[in-house]
Structures are given as C-alpha cells and as structure tokens.
C-alpha cells in the first residue's frame, strides 16, 4: 500500500518526464500491482481526450482579428476609479525622489518647533494674574526665607537694638 502511494503521482507521466531510475521502478511496480496497473490503463485511455477536444475547438475559431477586437474594447472602456488614483504620484514617492529637500524641510520644521517652544516658555512666565505671591517660610541660619512664586525673599536676623 505504501508503495502504491509512492508511485501514484508518477502514473500517467509522459515519456521522459521521469528520471530513468524512477521510470524503471514505476514499471516494476506496475508489473506487480494490478490496482495501479488498472489506473495506468484508464489514464492512457483518456489521455489526450480533453486536450484534443480543446485544441479542436480552438482551431475552429478565427483569431486573426483577436488583437484588434481586444484593443477596441480597451479604448472604449471608461477607466475605473482605482486606475485614476494610481496615476497620482504618492507623497512617499515624492519624498523618495527628493531626499535632500526632504531633509532640509525636516530640519527647518524642528528648528521652528524649537523656536516656538522657547517663545511660549519665555512668555508664559510673563502672563501671571495679579495676585499675592504664594508664601512658604523657611528658617536658614537665623535668616527668614519667604519662598514666593516670584522668587525668594530673605530677611536677616534683626539686631537686638532695633528689635526687628
């Protein structure tokens, strides 16, 4: 059975399709196996029937004006939308074709973003609503440090004579 599975794809192969050693092995198997022999016989009987019929049918048709007929249909057919879209050059293709320009533009964008960020950062500190500064009081070495949102205010230890 396993031998039949090995030789089954070879049955029906044409002359010179198989290497010499496989052809000999197939022949030896067909001599010993009636089942495979029957399959080979059936294939040989039907061999060429389909191909011959198709060939006869094809030969009955005149293909001389074939090319002209196809070209005429192509010319009359409206272009589908996907063909129109494909005609537009893609952004990626443009970038690939203009590498240096793309690099310069990218550098300019980065520089512009940096400048805008710096501008916004500087101006942000100027936009403060009128309000009392928040206070935190620390004592450092006798000095009083008032930590306000605008910066520290340091008061030194008062003299004993003035009493603060």
């Amino acid at each position: 059975m396993r031998t039949c599975v090995r030789f089954a794809p070879m049955i029906g192969s044409k002359e010179c399709e198989l290497p010499e050693d496989e052809a000999r092995a197939l022949a030896a198997h067909l001599g010993a196996c009636p089942r495979c022999r029957a399959i080979a016989r059936d294939l040989a009987a039907t061999e060429g029937l389909l191909g011959n019929a198709l060939m006869a049918r094809a030969n009955s048709r005149d293909f001389a004006p074939f090319v002209d007929q196809v070209m005429a249909r192509v010319g009359a057919r409206p272009r589908p939308a996907f063909e129109q879209v494909r005609r537009r050059p893609s952004l990626l293709a443009f970038l690939r074709g203009h590498g240096r320009l793309t690099a310069v533009a990218a550098a300019a964008v980065v520089g512009l973003l940096a400048a805008v960020s710096a501008f916004l950062y500087v101006h942000r500190s100027a936009e403060r609503p009128e309000e009392l500064a928040a206070l935190e009081v620390d004592l450092e070495g006798g000095n009083i440090v008032l930590q306000t949102s605008d910066g520290p205010v340091v008061l030194i230890e008062p003299d004993d004579e003035t009493g603060g």
Binding site: A107, G111, L132
Partner: protein, 149 residues
C-alpha cells in the same frame, strides 16, 4: 534618503540642546539696591513695579530705588555690590543649569551667607542691612532679566 532625514533630525536636536548649553557660560544679571521703609506714605518707585508682588509680603510700605546695575556673571566669579551705608555684599554663582541658577549672597557685615536657587524669571530679594529707623536695604538679583518682565 533615510540617512539624510536622520542627519537632519540629529542636527535639529543638536541645535536645541547645544546652543542653550553654550550660552550658560555667561549669565546676565540685573542687580538693584532698594531701600524699604516702614515709615511714611506707602509708595513704590515706578521702576520697582515688577517687584510689587514680592515686596507686598514684607512689612515695608515705602520702596525707593538706590542703585541699578546690569552685569554678566560667571560661575565662581565673585561680584561685589556696594551699599549706600558703605557696606558690601558679595554675590557669586554656585550652580548653573539651563533654566536655573544658584546664587550665593554673602553679607559680610552681618556674617550671613545665603544659597538660593531661582528659575528663569524669578528674582531674589535679599535684605542686606539691619533695620535702622524703620528702614533697611535690600539687594534684588534676577538672572536673564530680558526674559522676565
């Protein structure tokens, strides 16, 4: 093409990172000596308007500008500020970062030294003399003054 874009982005990032770092070597500062008084009508010198919020936290109601100076400081270099009463205040930069500076303010006559870190746009108001007849002198220090109001 990918290499060109990578180079461009690297240059852009370098531009953002390196140039500010190079600018740290010199720090422009605006120094003012002001006099605060608890006596007299409340008044704030027009040029001290930006300090209004900070000064409002103190008991002094009258503020006058005594001296105004702009200098360029470097880390480790000591600047001296003379006070109207003859005393001196030493100022130095202890630490520098992109948007922060740590100042050391030394008031020799009072034997005090303060180490204060301020961000860009912040100002130090430091009392530099004892209170006499209800008045005292203060030193104000702001780095990168053009970036602040």
């Amino acid at each position: 093409m990918t290499r060109w874009i990578a180079c461009a982005f690297a240059l852009g990032i370098l531009h953002i990172a390196v140039l500010p770092a190079l600018a740290l070597a010199d720090v422009p500062v605006h120094l003012r000596v002001i006099k605060g008084s608890k006596k007299g009508p409340a008044k704030l010198d027009a040029s001290l308007e930006p300090l209004k919020r900070q000064l409002s936290s103190l008991a002094y109601v009258r503020w006058e500008l005594t001296s105004d100076d702009r200098r360029t400081m470097e880390k480790g270099k000591v600047e001296t500020v003379k006070l109207p009463d003859g005393d001196e205040v030493m100022l130095a930069i202890a630490e520098e970062q992109v948007d922060k500076v740590t100042f050391e303010v030394t008031v020799a006559s009072r034997k005090t030294q303060s180490k204060l870190t301020v961000e860009r746009g912040q100002r130090i108001v430091h009392q530099v003399s004892g209170e006499k007849n209800g008045s005292a002198f203060f030193l104000t220090v702001i780095a990168w003054p053009d970036a602040a109001k």
